[in-house]
Subunit: 330 residues, 2 copies
């Protein structure tokens, strides 16, 4: 169930807490309609890594060193874990519609099995369930922050769509896109968990920034894998970014470095979706290496944010998660 | 701006309050991204009738006879008006994706102008903005109720999709679909507005049921117009229900009344999307008239709910809205 089995020993409580998160997730999605329940069961199969709930739980532990255990805080954190996972599932379901993807975690996507209409509605059902669940924590600021966060998330997707097929996309806009569409959710996991656990504003902010930088590194790694990954290892349809005109860091960097001739050649290779040729060209300017280095730098900056926290197993886990994010091949 | 200009004189305050709702709506959707603002401006053009904010404001007035004016309650109601309108806009944008519709309020749809991907994301942006806005009222129960309501709304759409092309759809399931997908939102407009305005639980429940029955009558009228309406008057693509295999009350009633021969004939006419022939067959069993009578009965039941409220201009307006719902040709 865990993303990084090699680091889970750092926080033995994590496995049990993730099970509680999963139970909360499943309870929320029970419907009186069998057609809805069938879809909810399908979505649970997507819930493999549970990175976001892991960030919530670990952040909660990381700021509570020395404080007595609190059942109320624990339950709030479990609920937040289920909420962020549900928001993440909604984005996956809608992303698959956007990408016309047929494979997710090695299984068929909802859109390919049941059509785009059902996938759109299932995503909406997950979003509204997540907001309902979130309101049960009874903290109005949590709803406000999560609503603002998901609006940012959508604005990132809209920004990316408005630059589709744009060979002039610059790195500043690329970073703005990935911060919004991936960074802010991971940032919210850590920052809001810290606030729920009673941390001071400085610790909350540090954890929010840790999450944002980690999320951005994660997205860059995803973008790199979409170019160089092995479909059977990653478990989802690859090469989609090029096909859909979503140009990511390796290509953006390449365009800023290459000659006019190479630029023309690259544009032609992109237009015929020749991933192997695009990869050869991108590697000729070392832009793939550069993207990996950028992800590494983001991970270092993320880990720096943890310095203000007292050393504890949860902090070690957060550090290990940051490292593992860019080491993964899936 | 109003749905029923002929009845607006009943509540002269309504026009000003709807302007305040519109201002709240527009403020919430301002983004730092021009691509998001452009889309938000496009959606504002859909905001023609403002039926749902009208229900919110009128319900608020209807339960407050004699009570001193309260700025806090007024502002909460304006916010709720903007929230429900935003949820409604989100459903329109996603419905147009689902229906592959090209026309809405006489203009082009977002999906036809900017593609399905952008329309899906814009709908998500509207949903999350509505939840953020809702949380600014500072009443956690309001978020819980609205989240549960939108989940019901999605489940209604999923239920309808799971019966697509199902010639055995029965009227019980049809009513369950339209109660979820249209009734509960209108019911929430009235019931939650009453609660915000401080009404007792009995008045809140009566107004919720009024809204639900009204919403269902509205949906039946919409379904009838999709078969018999004039596209230039209605202002949106028609005949879509048949084309998408969504069978509505006239057809469901017809199948329960017609001979085996007529059933075969009807199925063939539906399969080749021959709206004129379907209409002829449906009229042969008087099933169109029956659907209109069902809508009228729902309107009467809706108005009955208002009996427990003291007579006042807002109650008159709610009664007039119920009547106008099934008299409209658009």
């Amino acid at each position: 169930m865990s993303l990084f089995p090699e680091t889970d020993h750092l926080l033995p409580e994590l496995a049990g807490r993730l099970e509680a998160v999963a139970a909360c997730f499943e309870r929320e999605l029970v419907s009186d309609l069998s057609s809805v329940n069938l879809l909810a069961r399908h979505v649970e199969k997507y819930r493999g890594k549970m990175l976001r709930p892991t960030l919530v739980i670990a952040s909660g532990f990381a700021v509570r060193t020395g404080a007595p255990p609190s059942r109320v805080i624990d339950e709030s954190l479990n609920t937040l874990g289920a909420v962020v996972e549900m928001i993440h599932m909604a984005t996956l379901v809608h992303d698959d519609v956007l990408d016309e993807a047929s494979m997710r975690r090695g299984g068929a996507t909802v859109n390919s099995l049941r059509g785009n209409e059902t996938a759109v509605m299932l995503g909406d059902f997950l979003i509204s369930s997540s907001f309902r669940l979130c309101s049960t924590v009874g903290e109005p600021w949590l709803n406000t922050e999560l609503g603002a966060m998901t609006s940012q998330l959508c604005s990132g997707e809209i920004l990316q769509l408005s630059h589709r097929g744009d060979f002039n996309l610059d790195s500043e806009t690329y970073f703005d896109i990935i911060r919004r569409k991936t960074g802010v959710l991971a940032g919210a996991c850590c920052g809001l968990a810290a606030r729920l656990a009673g941390a001071d504003p400085i610790a909350c902010k540090a954890l929010r920034i840790y999450g944002e930088e980690l999320g951005m590194a994660f997205q860059i790694q995803d973008d790199v894998l979409d170019l160089v990954g092995d479909e059977t290892v990653v478990g989802k349809t690859l090469g989609i970014d090029l096909q859909k005109g979503k140009f990511t860091l390796p290509l953006v960097t390449h365009f800023s470095r290459c000659s006019a001739d190479s630029r023309d050649q690259t544009i032609r290779a992109v237009e015929r979706c020749d991933v192997a040729e695009v990869l050869r060209l991108v590697e000729s300017t070392e832009s793939l290496v550069a993207a990996r280095e950028t992800a590494e730098a983001l991970v270092e900056r993320a880990k720096d944010q943890l310095e203000i926290l007292a050393e504890c197993p949860a902090r070690q886990l957060l550090r290990a998660i940051a490292d593992a994010t860019i080491e993964r091949e899936y």
